[in-house]
Symmetry: C2
Subunit: 298 residues, 2 copies
Amino acid sequence: MNKNEISEAFQQLQDHICRRVEQTDGVSTFQEDKWQRPEGGGGRTRIIKGEGVIEKGGVNFSEVHGKVTDMMRRNTEITADQFFATGVSIVLHPNNPHVPIIHMNVRYFELSDGKYWFGGGIDLTPHYIVKDQARAFHQGLKDICDKYDSSFYPKFKVWADDYFYLPHRDETRGVGGIFFDHIKESDSLTKDQLFNFCKDLGEAFPELYKYQVSLGKDLDFSEREIDWRNTRRGRYVEFNLVHDRGTKFGLVSGGRTESILMSLPATAQWEYCKPIEPGSGEESTLRLLSKEIDWINA
Amino acid sequence: MNKNEISEAFQQLQDHICRRVEQTDGVSTFQEDKWQRPEGGGGRTRIIKGEGVIEKGGVNFSEVHGKVTDMMRRNTEITADQFFATGVSIVLHPNNPHVPIIHMNVRYFELSDGKYWFGGGIDLTPHYIVKDQARAFHQGLKDICDKYDSSFYPKFKVWADDYFYLPHRDETRGVGGIFFDHIKESDSLTKDQLFNFCKDLGEAFPELYKYQVSLGKDLDFSEREIDWRNTRRGRYVEFNLVHDRGTKFGLVSGGRTESILMSLPATAQWEYCKPIEPGSGEESTLRLLSKEIDWINA
C-alpha cells in the first residue's frame, strides 16, 4: 500500500469508529471540523459530547506533510527533506465513573527517501480498576497481536507500561494496553500486513470499548465517585501535558491546538494530599496503578 | 547576607505572608506539612483551602542543597559541584471569578564556587481583566522596582510578558507583572540590596493582592462566570504543566510532587472550541491576553 491508500484507509477507519462509538454512546453524534495545515495537509477533527455514555471525546484523522523540522530530527535519524504523516487519534472520557477512559492511536510516517514506519497504541484508564475488565481488554489486544506475531503482545504490553507512566506520581496512567513505534517490514511481516495489524486494532477498538462500557454504564454512582473520577482525570491531564509525546510534539510544532487538546476532559480536579480511605475502591485502584502486572493472568 | 541568613529571612517572609493572606481570606487558615529532601534540605508546604476568598492555594518555603545534577548543568554555565537553593513560592486560586489568581516566587541560588544569583516574579491572572486593576497592580510593582533601579520595571515587565505566555494559545497567562532571573550584585546594587528587593516584593505581595481582592470579592457571579473561571483555570494548568520551568524542573528532578502541584486549581475545565459571545467580558478578556500592553498607561 502506498501512503495515499493508507491515508484513505485511515479516513474510512475514522468513519467506521465514529459510527460504532455513536451506537455505543446512545445519545450524541460527532460534530466535524475540517482544518488545513498552512505548511501542508490537514485533518478532520470529530468531537462528541453530551449526556450519553461519553461526556467528551474526539476521534481525529490527520494527514500532514512538508519539510522535516529540526524538532523531528532531534530524536531520530532522519536525513530526508520531506515527511508525510497520517493517523487516527482517539480519546473518550465517559460520564459514568464506572466506565473507563480509553485512548487509541494508529499512525503511519513516511520520508521522502522512502523510509517509513507504523506506530500506535491503545490503553485503558479505569477510574476504578476491576481486574476482570482489565483482563478482557488485554486478552482482546493479545488476540489481535497474536494473529500477526506472537512477540508483539509481550513486547508492546511492556512498552505501554513504560510509556503510559507518570514518574512524578509513580503511577501508571491506567491498566495499560499496547504501545509500539517505528515498526517496519521484516522477514516475517510485509508492509501490507503491518497496515492490516493497525487496521485490525482500529476496528477492534470500538468493540473492546463497547464491552467495557456495557459493564459500567448502568452502575450507580454518587458525589464520591464523581470526585474520584475528576481526580483521576487530573492525572490524565498531567500525563498528557507533561509526558505525552504526541501532545508535546503537536503543541510545539504549531499543530491545531483545539484538535490536540481534545484529549483533555471536560472537568478535572486537584486536591492537595487527597485522603484515601483504607480498604476502599480508590485505594485498591491506586495499588493497581503499577507496571508489570500480568493482567491476562491477574 | 549569607545563604543561611537569606534562608532564615525567607522563612520569616513565608510566616508574614501566611498571616496577611489569612486576614485577607477571612475564613480559612494554613495547614503546614514539613518535608525532607533525601538528597539534602527540605521545606514547609502551607496550604489554604475553603469557602473564604481563597478556594485553594499554597505558600511554600524550601531550602534544598546537594550535588549539581546534569539537568541543572544543561541550561547554564555551572561548573561547581554543590548547589544551594532557597525560596518562597505562592499560588492562590480564589473562589470568586471576579478575583484574580495570583502567583509569586522569590528565590536565591548559590554554588559551592561562590557564584550566586536571585530570581523571582509576580504575575496576576484575572479571570476577567479590568484595566484599572491591572494598572494598580503594575504601578505597585513599578514603585518597588524603582526604589532599586529604574531599569528593573521596564526590563522585568517585558521578561514577564515573554515568560507567562502560552504559545499554543497565543495568549498571555494574564496581565503579567514582573519576572527576573540570574540577577547579581553590580556597580549600582550590592547583594544586600538585591535581597532587600526580593524581600520588599514579598512583603508587598499580600498588600497588592488584598487590594485586588477588595475590588472583586463582593461582586455577584453566576454559573456563567464560574464556567469561565474554570476555563481560565484550564489555561493555568496548561501553562504550569507545559511551560513553567519551576514545575517542570521540580517534577523531573524528583521534587515533592504534592508541594509542586499545589499550584493547580481545585477544578478546571476544557471545552472544545468554546464559543465566546461578541462584546462580552470573556471576549474583551481574551483580547487583552496579549504581550506588550503598557498597563500603567493603558
